[in-house]
């Protein structure tokens, strides 16, 4: 066969397959990408199939999962979120990224707080040295669920791990405050104050303590003011009237031993200074 004829066929066929490839890519194919992964019972079985390369398997599944979840055209893609990320956990429990991304997808896209926390808990269970898992879990519980008690328990877990940032304890204490458990908050902040490693922390703790006292006092005062108003129809001129009327034993002062500012018109109690700017 003549050389020129062969070259022509090579060129023609290559043009053909290149052109066809470009055209075929434009045709949409119904995708059920990775559908086969759904009915593998658990990562345990998949582990055998990886022939001693479970970490590689985890990598590949994780990479695939990212593409899968990036495809917003799949409507029910969150149904197997837990399943998929449990598989990566099973194959390579020490690979931390999937836990983080899985929980992120759960909370931001699937809007499922419990699922996100479940994934983070799993991560923490397999990696007890990774404070970031309970740390993040606390944040999620707080930010997306307003569940400060739950956040607190996470923060507690986090702060006990070596390497956790030292402000974790402050988050822990503050979560108590946010869940209106002022007694506990006071205790925790006092503990932080007394064990503060530097002046700055001490200052922060004292600000918080100030704030807690102010809050407690404010609540107590407001309770009394409202009772006074009920009885007398108006707010008292000054706070001493409350003592005289017997609603409170004495007028509380703030932590700096200053008076609270009282507005007789509105019945509002404010602190003399903003706690954070003392």
């Amino acid at each position: 066969m003549k050389r020129s004829k062969i070259i022509v066929i090579i060129l023609l066929s290559s043009v053909a397959f290149l052109g066809l490839k470009i055209h075929i890519d434009t045709i949409h194919r119904g995708k059920v990408p990775g559908s086969s992964i759904i009915y593998i019972p658990s990562g345990k079985y998949l582990k055998y199939a990886t022939f001693g390369f479970p970490e590689l398997g985890a990598d590949l599944i994780y990479l695939w999962a990212i593409q899968y979840y990036s495809d917003y055209s799949i409507p029910d893609r969150f149904d197997y979120l837990d399943h998929i990320f449990s598989i990566t956990a099973e194959l390579d429990p020490r690979y931390v990224d999937p836990y983080h991304i899985g929980s992120l997808i759960a909370i931001l896209e699937a809007k499922d707080l419990d699922l996100a926390l479940k994934i983070l808990e799993r991560g923490f269970e397999k990696n007890p040295d990774q404070w970031l898992f309970p740390f993040l879990a606390g944040h999620y519980a707080q930010m997306y669920g307003n569940d400060f008690q739950r956040a607190r328990s996470y923060y507690k877990q986090a702060m006990e791990i070596e390497g956790a940032p030292e402000f974790t304890e402050r988050l822990y204490a503050h979560a108590a405050f946010k869940s209106s458990d002022y007694q506990t908050a006071w205790k925790d902040w006092l503990n932080i104050y007394e064990n503060a490693p530097n002046e700055r922390t001490k200052k922060i703790a004292s600000n918080h303590l100030y704030n807690i006292k102010a809050t407690i006092d404010k609540i107590e005062l407001e309770k009394a003011l409202n009772a006074y108003k009920e009885k007398f129809g108006h707010y008292p001129e000054d706070l001493f009237r409350l003592v005289q009327a017997g609603y409170i034993r004495n007028v509380p002062k703030d932590l700096d031993n200053n008076d609270y500012i009282y507005d007789p018109e509105t019945g509002e109690i404010t602190t003399k200074v903003i706690p954070w700017k003392r």
């Binding site: 066969m1 066929i9 053909a16 290149l18």
Partner: protein, 254 residues
């Protein structure tokens, strides 16, 4: 025709190769195992049999193509049977095409046997004949055709072991090149992206020959897609074969 004579001769020789029957045995074992696997799953059992079954057919079919194809030309050169053959009035390309078609016939027979076992297993489970499987079978065979062409190409200038590695690499690249599409979408425009797009178009895309998902999940398969995919497989195979003919033309048989 001279190509036909060589093809039939190649078929007679290839069908005797024990490797084929060893792979056939493993394929059958895998198919039976899929039936066992189906018991472990929750939900639709037939899907597991179909998925594992089609994957086995595809895998073992391609293995047969690689193992047989890489030895096709090498054996003739090594055993020097090619000397008498090329002293006859035949073109070198007729020899190559004869070997190619001979192996294709052999692979067709083996695939037919495997598909038969597969259909029987499905039938025993569902008591129906799943005709849609034939589309998957057709494209599995087309994929084997392309892989055979590549194996033949490498067999023209390389030892069986190296040829097998190269052909296997071609196959793996072909099966994963679709991932490049996602990567390209995320690249910033520029020379890098254009280069990546060119490479993506040139690389074999065996996903175009993969209809297992559609078949198993009963997704619609547009006719024009089938047509173009078939043409793609054929065009790429023609390209590879002609390349082999070009390389083989002026090769010295020391």
């Amino acid at each position: 025709m001279k190509i036909k004579a060589i093809a039939l001769n190649t078929f007679k020789e290839a069908i005797r190769d024990r490797i084929l029957y060893l792979l056939l045995f493993f394929a059958a074992a895998a198919l039976i195992f899929s039936r066992v696997l189906a018991l472990l799953t929750v939900g639709d059992r037939v899907k597991i049999i179909m998925d594992v079954g089609l994957a086995s057919l595809s895998l073992f079919g391609v293995l047969m193509a690689i193992l047989m194809g890489t030895g096709l030309v090498y054996k003739e050169i090594d055993k020097k049977t090619i000397y008498t053959l090329l002293s006859k009035p035949i073109h070198r390309y007729q020899f190559l095409l004869g070997k190619f078609f001979g192996l294709l016939i052999t692979l067709f027979v083996m695939l037919f046997l495997m598909c038969l076992i597969f259909m029987i297993i499905i039938f025993l489970h569902n008591f129906t004949i799943e005709w849609k499987m034939f589309i998957a079978f057709f494209f599995i065979f087309l994929e084997m055709v392309l892989v055979t062409a590549v194996a033949l190409l490498f067999s023209c200038f390389s030892t069986p072991i190296l040829s097998s590695i190269f052909t296997l690499s071609f196959f793996l690249i072909g099966r994963t090149s679709w991932g490049l599409e996602t990567l390209i979408k995320k690249m910033p425009s520029g020379l890098g992206k254009i280069t990546a797009q060119i490479i993506y178009t040139i690389l074999p895309d065996l996903e175009n020959l993969n209809y297992k998902t559609e078949v198993v999940h009963n997704l619609p398969i547009p006719v024009d897609l089938v047509l173009f995919s078939t043409l793609y497989g054929i065009a790429y195979s023609v390209f590879v074969l002609t390349l082999a003919i070009l390389i083989f033309r002026r090769r010295d048989f020391i």
